[in-house]
């Protein structure tokens, strides 16, 4: 058995996750192995994975909304949400829910939206956007214990894992490594809590 959800290219063949089959406990073991293999690949790529704090300090707040041009710059918006979540602010909940909804429906994050959150750009392959949203969702889950956020992050992490050969720069490698480690840690806690741990 293999963990198949990060194997195919999600940009070419979007994974809808409808009626996914139940494959018993081995599936969870394979998932963990698959994620750990990915982490190991990145360890080989770079032995200088940055600490999370070193990445976030570089992330500056920028103007993400352009009312005159009816446009939202997604990367800037996600950086804004990222900083808000680090600051433990609850102001941006509506914005976060909107971008999560867009991802859950289209299974993609576009580089720009209009102010009504309709796609403005056809470009959807900026991995930084996926990494940022995944980590935002993981932090949000840790804060609220709302599984909706963890669910979105798991899907995004499958998508990013399917593109791991394209993750090259150190910031992205470090964000990916952080996201996967955090995801595995959270899943392990839930498994223990629900009495289905592998140990």
């Amino acid at each position: 058995m293999e963990y198949q959800y990060s194997k195919k290219n999600h940009f070419k063949y979007a994974e809808k996750y409808q009626m996914t089959p139940f494959k018993n406990k081995e599936f969870l073991i394979e998932y963990k192995k698959s994620r750990e293999r990915n982490l190991h690949e990145f360890d080989k790529k770079s032995d200088e994975i940055k600490y999370f704090k070193d990445i976030i300090f570089k992330t500056e707040k920028e103007k993400w909304k352009d009312i005159k041009n009816n446009s939202i710059n997604t990367e800037k918006l996600l950086k804004f949400l990222f900083i808000e979540i680090i600051k433990k602010s609850e102001k941006s909940e509506i914005l976060l829910n909107k971008i999560i909804k867009k991802f859950e429906i289209k299974k993609k994050i576009f580089e720009s939206y209009d102010l009504e959150f309709k796609e403005k750009s056809k470009k959807d392959s900026n991995l930084k956007n996926y990494l940022l949203l995944s980590i935002i969702c993981l932090f949000k889950y840790q804060k609220t214990k709302n599984l909706k956020f963890l669910n979105t992050s798991l899907k995004i992490n499958d998508l990013i894992s399917s593109q791991q050969q394209k993750i090259c720069n150190l910031d992205e490698i470090s964000l990916y490594s952080f996201a996967i480690k955090k995801e595995l840690e959270i899943i392990e806690i839930i498994m223990i809590k629900k009495g289905v741990s592998n140990d």
Binding site: Y5, K16, T20, N24, L147, N151, L154, I187, K194, V196
Partner: protein, 235 residues
């Protein structure tokens, strides 16, 4: 008397709904069958056995159930609830409430009909709106719930008729059996208690949570948490 109808589609939920209506001798004023002649899914023996324990036979098609019981039905060769032919038909109907077994959002045209549409959603709203809520509820609350509501233009936001909680299942066939079972049991309560005659429905709070289709990792943890005691017993 309030006139009640049901709109069936060729799926598991409809099998459970119509079987329980027949077995409980509940009077339904009109049956509409939206049948796109799709090839029906085949089920393994253990799934069929579990469905029978839950009061319906998943291996029997809706078409067969209708034929075996000589039910009078109005048929359409599509499953889209928003199809203009169906809307035209319903506009002339004297049915006050249609139970709709399928999913999706009703568009303005069908919502403008005199008839109201009832949905049985597998989650206690407003806390659990959206998709595959039973899994989220198992993970979070260790149980599940169903809400019966009048469908409106948004997703799972309509006025509440009735809510019922269920123990989590002790088997793994949640998508195929448990979902259809808890929805159809809630339908029986609504019909047996004649809740539609009372026409007392509760507005939903705007606050709430919308969930999206569950990731297989969370789904596996939810199912394993349901069957872990069985596994321990059998070891």
């Amino acid at each position: 008397m309030t006139k009640i109808g049901i709109i069936l589609t060729p799926d598991t939920r409809s099998k459970a709904y119509i079987t329980k209506i027949i077995n409980n001798k509940i009077k339904i004023d009109e049956i509409i069958f939206l049948d796109d002649q799709r090839k029906e899914k085949k089920f393994k023996k253990n799934v069929i056995e579990e469905s029978k324990k839950c009061g319906f036979d998943i291996s029997k098609s809706v078409k067969n159930i209708i034929n075996e019981n000589n039910l009078m039905v109005k048929k359409f060769n599509f499953v889209d609830i928003n199809n203009s032919k169906l809307i035209k038909y319903i506009k002339k109907s004297s049915i006050e409430f249609f139970i709709f077994t399928g999913g999706g959002i009703l568009k303005e045209d069908i919502l403008n009909c005199k008839s109201k549409f009832i949905h049985f959603h597998p989650g206690i709203v407003p806390k659990y709106r959206g998709s595959t809520c039973f899994y989220y509820s198992i993970l979070k609350e260790n149980n599940c719930g169903v809400t019966s509501f009048l469908m409106d233009k948004n997703l799972d936001t309509g006025d509440i008729i009735y809510q019922k909680k269920f123990k989590k299942p002790s088997h793994e066939f949640i998508d195929d059996v448990y979902d259809a079972h808890i929805r159809s049991e809630t339908m029986l309560d609504v019909l047996n208690k004649k809740l539609l005659n009372k026409k007392k429905f509760k507005k939903q709070s705007k606050e709430g949570n919308t969930y999206y289709i569950i990731h297989p990792i969370l789904k596996h943890i939810a199912i394993l948490s349901c069957i872990k005691n069985l596994k321990n017993k059998s070891n």
